[in-house]
């Protein structure tokens, strides 16, 4: 079980939330080229190590927040509202 610390609801089983994946910088839609936009949509680094990722607290406070998780061990450090 992965326990995700929601900054508002406290520690929760990850099944109560939705994982929205790695944080990827979003290009400005008004100036980005199609290929930049699609790179943002689809390409991921997918490393085995620390990533910053977004979670959606779907059955709690319904807020989005980011945390850092190590994808090799599922260890989680520090959580901040976004």
């Amino acid at each position: 079980m992965i326990v995700v610390p929601c900054p508002y609801c406290g520690p929760r089983n990850s099944v109560d939330l939705r994982n929205c994946g790695e944080v990827v910088p979003r290009p400005d839609p008004s100036t980005a080229s199609l290929s930049e936009w699609r790179t943002y949509l689809y390409l991921r680094e997918n490393p085995a190590g620390w990533i910053t990722e977004t979670w959606y607290c779907r059955s709690g406070c319904r807020r989005y927040f980011t945390i850092e998780r190590n994808t090799a061990t599922n260890e989680i450090r520090d959580s901040e509202a976004s």
Binding site: M1, R38, L41
Partner: protein, 429 residues
């Protein structure tokens, strides 16, 4: 070149049975060369099949298959071995059907019994929209000559009497897509068969050899990696190997390898769990899949029920079983087959899956010369192993993308030309 194959036969089986003599090793442990014409990273089904077809169809035998662990230790040794070709897109159907053809003659081709059991495949529909997708798939399939049709609950009951088809269940079975040519294969035998055959043709299988970097030059990224560059070799925990061609067949680890060449992928890695029950008398004659209930089941010759589900929702490289999986699995299986409530789970395991946004593989050339991919196999790469190896070998040998894999090239993501196989592959297996 090739050392002569030791042939398996009924006569040899009898002889070994009587004398208890040792069987010869299926493949050698060769001395690593400093350079190869082709280096394949990943000694799973895909890497081994690619090596085999390179040697057999194209005479390219100066080939090494590198694996950080042992052959078949990744998804190839962990899957639930379901094969079928009733996909949703014409591209997918043509591709997977060629794989079924190769599976059909494989025992003879590789001189090893892969125990292909064409017992049929049922994909259940519990909603009108699922039934609509089944009809769509059946029509696409028929057009391409695939044996595939939609059947009603009575026929489902006849084919799999243990299923509860009564209308008053929580998820009533409204019908199913029936695909008689689908079935199951002994997955380890396929890995061993390809490894043994490739070994006989002169391919080097180097186990416990982990690739730690891909050496490139001329690319626009760090250390000459990335688009515009070309591959010159690989670094491993056992030393450097020079080669003009590197093939990434590492499935769940595909992104880690691809990042070494400066080619990011549209892949996230998720575990997929499976479980098996204690053995009991054989009662389930076909493979049963329920997309809505996220579960599928088949029965082995020994009588164990093999269950699988959809991938875990959180991307991770950590493979461990979870209670959530077993709980959900048990609940859903009992919806379908209430009669097995007293059966006990024997074992549960997990493997890594390389998921793409369109549930289709990424195959062939990349923007780095000499670096090819055969990845994005998600939860469906076992059935595709033979055709992937055959088409990739053709692509390497001819320098031209094989027709069957043209829809699966890496640039489809930046070109916005995705394949859209979700309707047939999300839980389908």
């Amino acid at each position: 070149m090739a050392r002569h194959a030791y042939k398996y036969s009924a006569g040899k089986l009898l002889k070994h049975g009587l004398t208890h003599g040792d069987w010869p090793r299926m493949w050698r442990r060769p001395e690593r060369r400093d350079s190869y014409d082709v280096v394949i990273i990943g000694g799973g089904l895909h890497g081994l099949a690619t090596a085999y077809y390179l040697a057999k169809d194209h005479g390219i035998t100066n080939v090494a298959v590198l694996d950080k662990g042992y052959l078949g230790g990744g998804g190839s040794g962990r899957n639930t071995a379901i094969v079928r070709s009733n996909y949703l897109t014409p591209d997918g159907v043509a591709f997977y059907d060629r794989s079924l053809d190769l599976y059909n003659t494989m025992s003879a081709d590789l001189n090893l019994n892969i125990m292909f059991s064409r017992r049929g495949h049922l994909t259940l529909a519990h909603t009108d929209s699922a039934l609509r997708t089944m009809n769509w798939r059946a029509e696409v399939n028929k057009l391409q000559g695939i044996d595939s049709s939609v059947i009603g609950p009575d026929e489902v009951k006849r084919l799999a009497p243990s299923l509860d088809v009564s209308p008053d269940t929580r998820y009533p079975i409204l019908g199913a897509l029936h695909h008689p040519p689908g079935g199951v294969v002994r997955h380890d035998a396929v890995v061993w068969g390809y490894a043994r055959a490739a070994d006989h043709l002169g391919v080097h299988m180097l186990q416990e050899t982990e690739v730690i970097d891909i050496v490139c030059e001329g690319g626009n990224g760090r250390d000459g990696k990335g688009p515009g560059g070309k591959v010159t070799g690989v670094r491993t925990n056992r030393g450097d190997i020079s080669t003009p061609v590197v093939v990434n067949c590492t499935a769940g680890w595909a992104s880690l390898i691809s990042n070494m060449a400066g080619v990011p992928l549209a892949i996230t890695t998720h575990p997929l769990q499976a479980a098996v029950t204690e053995p009991c008398k054989v009662f389930l004659p076909t493979v049963v899949v329920s997309g809505s209930l996220h579960v599928y089941v088949s029965q082995t010759d020994r009588g164990e029920l093999v269950f699988g589900a959809s991938v875990d929702p959180v991307g991770t490289y950590r493979v461990n079983g979870t209670l959530e999986f077993t709980e959900e699995l048990a609940g859903h299986v009992l919806e379908l087959m209430p009669g097995i409530s007293k059966m006990r789970l024997l074992r549960q395991w997990s493997g890594l899956c390389d998921m793409t946004p369109d549930y289709s593989p990424i195959m062939g050339f990349t923007p780095v010369e000499g670096y090819l991919v055969d990845v994005g196999w998600g939860t469906y790469g076992f059935k595709a192993g033979p055709v992937a190896g055959e088409t990739l070998a053709e692509t390497i040998a001819t320098g031209r993308t094989a027709d069957l894999i043209a829809p699966f090239t890496i640039d489809r993501f930046t070109e916005g030309d995705l394949v859209g196989e979700k309707g047939a592959a999300a839980v389908g297996h």
